[in-house]
């Protein structure tokens, strides 16, 4: 099958492309960034998904499936541009997919969709609405992109669309939101709170995405692997040390003393858990994680990669 991957030059994009090649699929990638050592079987078109050349890729290559991973978080893109990439980009991908006869579309979203709140249930199911957006406005465009992608299920009934809400990624690439938070030697937590964190090894994430393609999933799915662990254990098992800061002082120390810089709303994410229930996904796809929570944390800790890149 010929698969188009948007955001292919990102860390997870590359892993997905490599997994697809391993399973003998043909991969066409679109990304604004280059991927100089792309393996054989992967052709990368350096363009923006919102631009004309991206549509040309759909027209000339006629992929049977598209995996849309070209969304960005507030950690990478701090400007208004983020809204445009996430929303106009997602709209473009589905419009092109519809226009050029794509049969399957996968939107790679995030479990932060659900938001963190004191009165939220511990294991979120797919039928829940996004919460706590008023506290963390930086998530609004990703939530909107998730819901917009889900609309494709009735707007384009000919396309089998799967919206994946994937938990945090962790692994030797030291890449992603969680890796950026755990980047420094000391990780600040809020005194008196120790929420559960749910994450998956980056290779398991790539396998889960490819599996939802090969199994032809349709619908909205939470994607998670091993069981969640408290933030304090996560910090210890990744070789970091815990810096417990009383909540009123937290905003003051962020971005100083070598500590990560976070938007104010992100505080709820280190006070309350976001844990998802992936039962439906596991039943539909037969997915089983290869790396348990400790192997995942230790692969991050023992990685030769020096520092994290957000993404």
């Amino acid at each position: 099958m010929k698969v188009l991957v948007t955001g292919v030059s990102g860390k997870i994009g590359r892993l997905v492309a490599e997994e697809l090649v391993r399973q003998e699929h043909e991969v066409v990638g679109i990304d604004r960034r280059t991927w100089p050592e792309a393996p054989a079987g992967v052709r990368v078109f350096e363009t923006d998904i919102r631009k004309r050349p991206a549509e040309d890729v759909f027209r000339t290559e006629r992929p049977q499936a598209v995996i849309h991973m070209a969304t960005v978080t507030h950690l990478v893109e701090r400007s208004e541009e983020r809204y445009r990439i996430n929303l106009i980009g997602t709209k473009a991908v589905f419009d092109f997919a519809h226009r050029y006869g794509v049969k399957q579309a996968i939107f790679v979203g995030r479990h932060t969709y659900y938001g963190a709140a004191a009165d939220a249930p511990l294991y979120h199911t797919e039928d829940e609405p996004p919460m706590a957006l008023e506290i963390f406005p930086e998530l609004v465009d990703l939530v909107a992109a998730d819901l917009f992608a889900g609309m494709a299920l009735w707007r384009f009934p000919n396309i089998d669309t799967a919206v994946l809400r994937i938990c945090y990624t962790l692994g030797p690439a030291r890449h992603g939101t969680l890796a950026a938070f755990l980047n420094g030697p000391r990780v600040p937590t809020i005194l008196g709170f120790d929420p559960l964190f749910q994450f998956m090894h980056e290779e398991d994430v790539a396998r889960a995405i490819v599996l939802s393609l090969t199994r032809g999933l349709r619908g909205v799915y939470n994607v998670a692997g091993p069981q969640p662990v408290p933030l304090s254990s996560l910090i210890r098992h990744t070789g970091r040390s815990l810096l417990q800061v009383p909540e009123p002082m937290y905003r003051v120390v962020l971005g100083r003393f070598g500590l990560p810089r976070l938007p104010v709303g992100a505080l709820t994410h280190i006070k309350y858990p976001i844990v998802i229930d992936a039962t439906t996904f596991k039943a539909a796809s037969g997915f089983q994680h290869r790396f348990d929570e400790y192997e995942t944390m230790h692969s991050f800790r023992d990685s030769p990669q020096l520092s994290a890149r957000a993404g």
């Binding site: 004191a118 249930p121 008196g192 709170f193 069981q227 969640p228 662990v229 408290p230």
Partner: protein, 285 residues
């Protein structure tokens, strides 16, 4: 004989150490027999921590056995495994009854079980409290949580009187206030047996004479209970937990209010009966 005295004091310290050690071993041995799916680090999927349970039960052991001298009756009514709902009355300012019920299922059941509670929402916002509550097995009081725990074959503690129950004053300690009905719909939906439980003595252990609702709101709790001696420390009153035979109801949980209310009344009556049995025994003793 100074030598003998020295020997004796030495011996006494030793025996105290041995006893302390034995009670510690006992808690750990019981923890090992809990049927929770702990991972390699002693964490379960809800974030319950073996280490925190060990600290909590060790701390509780003395007050459970020595201070409150808790006595249980009919604890064999609690199923040794599988889903069940312990429905208990509330009294005594703070949720001391929940802690002791948790203690009863841990210390007096064989094999021990972890009774998991549904905590008031405001607790999830309180530093330290939020953390300890979660790590010792309690979840925020949401219907989704109750369904999930029961479908996971856990033992759930329910206090249908809620904060109205803990707000009972000393003179009202043996009364039952209005029961919520949500628990019964959940029991029907998940086909869980209900074990009625009466807790006697907590109302006397924390003799509330007034509740400060205004001050409570200021600090973010529903109210602050006040005892005649001002402190919230419980008095060493003997506590009794009486467990009634399991009640099995059938239905879908979507029945009309009249049907549900009749069943709730039945649960309330069985708890009321357990309370009066316990009272007459206490008064004749």
């Amino acid at each position: 004989m100074p030598v003998l005295r020295a020997y004796r004091s030495e011996f006494r310290t030793d025996s105290r150490k041995v006893r302390a050690l034995m009670s510690a071993v006992d808690v750990d041995e019981r923890l090992n027999r809990l049927e929770l799916p702990f991972n390699a680090s002693g964490l379960d999927p809800y974030g319950i921590s073996r280490k925190h349970l060990s600290i909590a039960f060790r701390g509780m052991s003395w007050s459970y056995h020595r201070y409150f001298r808790v006595r249980t009756r009919g604890i064999e009514n609690v199923p040794p495994r599988g889903r069940a709902m312990l429905v208990c009355n509330h009294a005594g300012g703070i949720a001391l009854d929940a802690a002791l019920l948790m203690g009863a299922c841990f210390f007096d059941m064989d094999p021990p079980r972890l009774a998991q509670g549904m905590a008031e929402k405001f607790l999830a916002r309180m530093p330290f409290a939020a953390q300890w509550i979660a790590k010792t097995g309690h979840v925020t009081g949401l219907p989704e949580h109750a369904v999930r725990l029961l479908e996971d074959e856990r033992l759930l503690m329910v206090f249908p009187e809620g904060a109205r129950g803990t707000a009972k004053l000393f003179k009202e300690r043996y009364s039952l206030v209005r029961f919520g009905t949500g628990f019964l719909r959940l029991a029907l939906e998940t086909r869980s047996p209900i074990i009625p439980v009466a807790c006697l003595g907590t109302g006397a252990a924390i003799p509330t004479v007034a509740n400060l609702y205004g001050v409570g709101r200021l600090v973010g709790v529903p109210y602050i209970p006040l005892t005649p001696y001002l402190l919230l420390a419980p008095l060493p009153v003997r506590i009794e937990l009486r467990f009634g035979p399991a009640l099995h109801f059938t239905g879908s949980g979507n029945e009309d209010d009249a049907f549900i209310n009749a069943k709730v009344e039945q649960v309330k009556e069985s708890i009321g009966k357990l309370i009066s049995e316990g009272r007459s025994e206490r008064e004749s003793a």
